[in-house]
Symmetry: C2
Subunit: 199 residues, 2 copies
DNA sequence: ATAGCAATCGAACGTTCGGACGCTAAGGTG
DNA sequence: CACCTTAGCGTCCGAACGTTCGATTGCTAT
């Protein structure tokens, strides 16, 4: 084979490793992601793979970053142009459900899976997962707060409580799709969102 | 050491293996459960451990059964005496949330964790997890149906949709407790349930 | 032209995994 | 008492794990 030696080509290699890693980790978890398997599937040596990251934990963190970019592109970007408050909150939920429906990650929501995998083990990966959820929940709470301020939500609606319940709806949909392969799950989730945010 | 050879004592050993297995698997997953670790923690040999089950997969299925017994004892039994329909559905949700709050399993809901761990890998364990969720959801739908028949729920309430949303509420609570260690999560879940089932 | 850097390889490391084997010793049964 | 079953032990195996190391190769700046 022809090894790559320029910095530009090395970045291509790194990208290829991360793409494959996201695919594997989405289906089998961040621990199911093994360096040997990555090397075999990419036609490289194990040391060639790990050389880009230094350790498996650093690879996992990089994979989390890459998955975060995908999530941002697929869920957040399409919604940025929507006016803040209730309209954006509705659009956010729709894109979020659609992201599950389209199977952006073959194993369902990457972060929900990572959360369950790492919530019991202290470490950098767990902290990174928690930080991402905090950021996401913050976004939901912010938009819900704007919607409430604008009077677009029923009186007494607490943004924190609403965000909590929306998380639940999407997690239920994720679960139904992944475990039960229930094709009705996205429709149920949309209906639940509509009950909370109106049509 | 003094090996045990009577059938009764062997059952005690089997019980001890399962108890420890549930504790380990709850915190680290059914795959994180390893025969060598079990043997070390129980002061036995690996062959002494696996001899009771035959294979790791059979052990995992037995652990799932044991966890199911715990769930039944902690969540279902306290509620059996409550009248069917809305009262029982309410009691069910309360016990369900309380089971998360009390930390019956140190890693949160055993089955939610197992579902996320195995939803991507075909096999007997995955099937068993799915069957348990089907049974549980069936119970929720049945009680919701009775409540609707009795006129105790708003007109147009679909039992399937209600069960879906209740699953979401509890999964959100589980997630908030396990990943964020959020002490308010049970209260939020109760509030969400109250919004759906009344006080 | 040459020195240096970085990407990648191949091989080896120590560990851990699930599992298989043969053995011992005790209980239950005739 | 004799026999059979079996709980449990100790040992071993092949595979896979993450990681480390030196060698090789090609690009790039001097």
């Amino acid at each position: 084979m022809s090894p790559r030696h320029s910095a530009a080509e090395a970045m291509q290699t790194r990208d290829a490793i991360l793409d494959r890693s996201v695919a594997i980790a989405s289906a089998e978890g961040l621990e199911g992601l093994t360096i040997g398997r990555l090397a075999a599937e990419l036609g490289m040596s194990k040391s060639g793979v790990i050389g880009h990251f230094g350790s498996k934990e650093a690879l996992q963190l990089a994979v989390l970053d890459r998955a975060g970019e995908v999530f941002r592109t697929e869920v957040w970007e399409p919604v940025r142009a929507t006016p803040p408050g209730l309209p954006r909150l509705r659009a956010l939920c729709e894109e979020w459900i659609s992201y599950l429906e389209r199977g952006v990650f073959p194993g369902g929501c990457f972060f929900v899976a990572a959360a369950h995998e790492f919530d019991g083990r202290p470490g950098a990966v767990r902290d990174a997962v928690e930080a991402r959820f905090d950021a996401w929940r913050g976004r939901l709470v912010k938009e819900a707060g704007r919607a409430a301020e604008a009077g677009d939500l029923p009186d007494g609606t607490e943004p924190e409580q609403l965000a909590f319940e929306l998380m639940g709806v999407v997690m239920a949909a994720n679960h139904a799709v992944q475990l039960h392969r229930d094709p009705q799950a996205p429709a149920r989730a949309r209906r639940a969102v509509r009950a909370k945010l109106g049509a």
